[in-house]
Amino acid sequence: MSIDESTAARVAKLARIKVAPEQLPALASEFNTILGFIEQLSEVDVEGVEPMTSVTPQRLKRRADAVTDGSQQAAVLANAPDAREGFFAVPKVVE
């Protein structure tokens, strides 16, 4: 498995991280080093093994389906880079 520049660019796009074109070769090469290391996993016989979903065999706790929190608009917006009229503000999304 080898990652080329176009794959590196695609992954950066999926992760929503801007990467300048001149940085792509170095990025692709780092990915290949890390994936080369991960490649060892193909040696393991995993036939019939269940993929782990929870490391402790506990059932998630249930609670009554009731409102337990809310009405904290000011606290929710307190750290927003741009909050206006009680909303988060972002660049125009719909043309």
Partner: protein, 492 residues
């Protein structure tokens, strides 16, 4: 009495209760030590006013006869914990200016028990690193020094480790996803325990890899670790993976009696190229436990070598998902936009500016292994390998093994800037610790000796799930026999 900042939690607690010292005095001693230790870059946000208020309140509580476990004890909090109204950046630029509106459950438990917060501690960005070099604040520095090189305190809880080792605080919180408590503890000659997954609530701790992250104490002794862990633990309805199990009195379980206990020595932890000193220390550790009456048994954990590669699929995958929240909308940094930039450009520029290189690398690796066409080959395979790693441990525990002794790290502290030739070389630092996170088990690093240069080395004990009390007691017996008392000479 020695300088007050040099005390451990147990000694300071006893002195407070006896009326020999006040929390205000302890706190002032620590604040003075912090002031003089800028060169270590351990504390990155200082909260002396909060500390002074909390110390006065603690003194009043003690006077009134209400002195819970941590009452009046000054500690440092890793920057990963959200602390109400106090900067909590996870060592990242993307959380610059973030002031949480809430307190993490673990730091809240400590404050409720009377602890005094001195400030926030340096760490690798989003806890991704083993040398504290990925921090937006610049690296913390190990107080141990043998030549003119500045050494790493380890990571990711490097600021916590440096602060405790240099007596800037009595103890500190850490978090551990692949070894981030135990590796820095070992490199700085202190004690650090990662409890069983689910013991400590993760609520309010900035998430890295949610199925692996656990908080724990970093302290000057095993007794101190027992005291502080007990306060940090407990069920929390706000974390669905937090265990609803009673928390035992860990300190009361420190008898030092480990007669007849079966301790396993796993063959697979004997790595090629492991320094002789680490091998020797490991053998000596086994001798010490045998001397204390334990039975030493050779065991095998066949999938050990696959833990680190499996971790580097599972952890980045979870990180890629967790860190998707940093979008420049709700909190933290937002990039300055150019004319015509839309929301996608805002996300991409914000994340490019806000994340450091290692975080970007891991988020993108995670994105790749979760992407269509690769999910089965990488992510699902890694989760299957994780099942096998856990089964290795279950098998030896079923054979009656009660704890496992291993080295804590493959080397002593290395020079800052020395290990970045390729990312995988840095990842190997966690080779002995990461198995424990993959299996959700408790693990503790105990300082056990010095190498030829005079740098501390640690041993790791791994316990059965939920048996932190028993594990701490075994560590207590090891600590007593190792008799590690060395401290770094003050140069800062």
């Amino acid at each position: 009495m020695t300088e007050l900042n040099k005390l451990g939690l147990a000694e300071a607690r006893d002195a407070l209760r006896a009326g020999d010292v006040t929390s205000v005095e302890l706190t002032e001693a620590c604040l003075g030590a912090i002031e003089g230790a800028g060169a270590l870059n351990a504390f990155v946000h200082h909260t002396p006013e909060i500390a002074a208020d909390q110390a006065r309140a603690a003194d009043a509580r003690i006077k009134a006869g209400d002195a819970p476990a941590m009452c009046g004890l000054p500690i440092g909090i890793k920057d990963l914990f959200c602390t109400k109204g106090v900067p909590s950046q996870a060592g990242s630029r993307i959380l610059e200016g973030f002031l949480p509106e809430y307190e993490s459950t673990v730091s809240g438990n400590l404050l409720e028990a009377g602890a005094v917060m001195l400030g926030k501690l340096n760490m690798d960005e989003f806890a991704m690193g083993s040398s504290n070099e990925t921090s937006v604040y610049g690296n913390a520095v190990n107080p141990w020094k043998v030549d003119d090189r500045a050494l790493t305190p380890g990571g990711s809880s490097g600021g916590s480790a440096a602060a405790v080792a240099a007596d800037l605080c009595l103890a500190a919180t850490g978090t551990d996803t692949g070894g981030s408590i135990r590796q820095p503890a070992a490199l700085t000659g202190i004690t650090g325990i990662k409890p069983t997954y689910g013991r400590c609530s993760r609520w309010g701790i900035v998430a890295f890899a949610s199925s692996l992250d656990q908080a724990g104490p970093m302290t000057k002794s095993v007794r101190d670790a027992a005291i502080m862990l007990e306060t940090m633990c407990g069920h929390d309805p706000k974390d669905s993976t937090s265990a609803d199990l009673p928390v035992p009195d860990f300190e009361a379980m420190l008898t030092g009696d480990i007669k007849g206990k079966k301790i396993g020595i796993p063959a697979e932890y004997r790595m090629d190229g492991m320094p002789d000193e680490i091998e020797m220390l490991w053998t000596q550790g086994a001798e010490m436990l045998r001397d204390a009456g334990a039975e030493i048994v050779d065991i095998t954990l066949p999938h050990t070598k696959y833990a680190l590669p499996a971790y580097y699929v599972v952890a980045p995958a979870e990180a890629s998902s967790n860190l998707a929240r940093y979008d420049g909308v709700r909190y933290g940094h937002r990039a300055r936009l150019d004319q015509g930039d839309g929301i996608t450009e805002m996300y991409e520029k914000t994340r490019a500016e806000g994340f450091g290189d290692e975080v970007k690398r891991r988020v993108m690796i995670g994105t790749y292994v979760l992407s269509a066409g690769f999910y089965d080959a990488y992510y699902n395979r890694a989760r299957k390998v994780r099942t096998l790693i856990k089964k290795d441990f279950e098998d030896v525990f079923a054979q009656g093994i009660e704890a496992i002794l291993t080295p804590a790290t493959p080397s002593a502290a290395f020079g800052l800037g020395e290990a970045w030739d390729d990312p995988v070389q840095m990842y190997l630092n966690d080779v002995f610790t990461v198995t424990v996170n993959m299996a959700g088990l408790p693990g503790i690093a105990v300082p056990a000796g010095l190498d030829a240069q005079g740098l501390p080395l640690g041993l790791q004990l791994i316990g059965r799930p939920w048996e932190e009390g028993d594990l701490l007691n075994t560590a207590y017996a090891l600590e007593a026999r190792a008799g590690f008392v060395a401290k770094p000479g003050k140069w800062w």
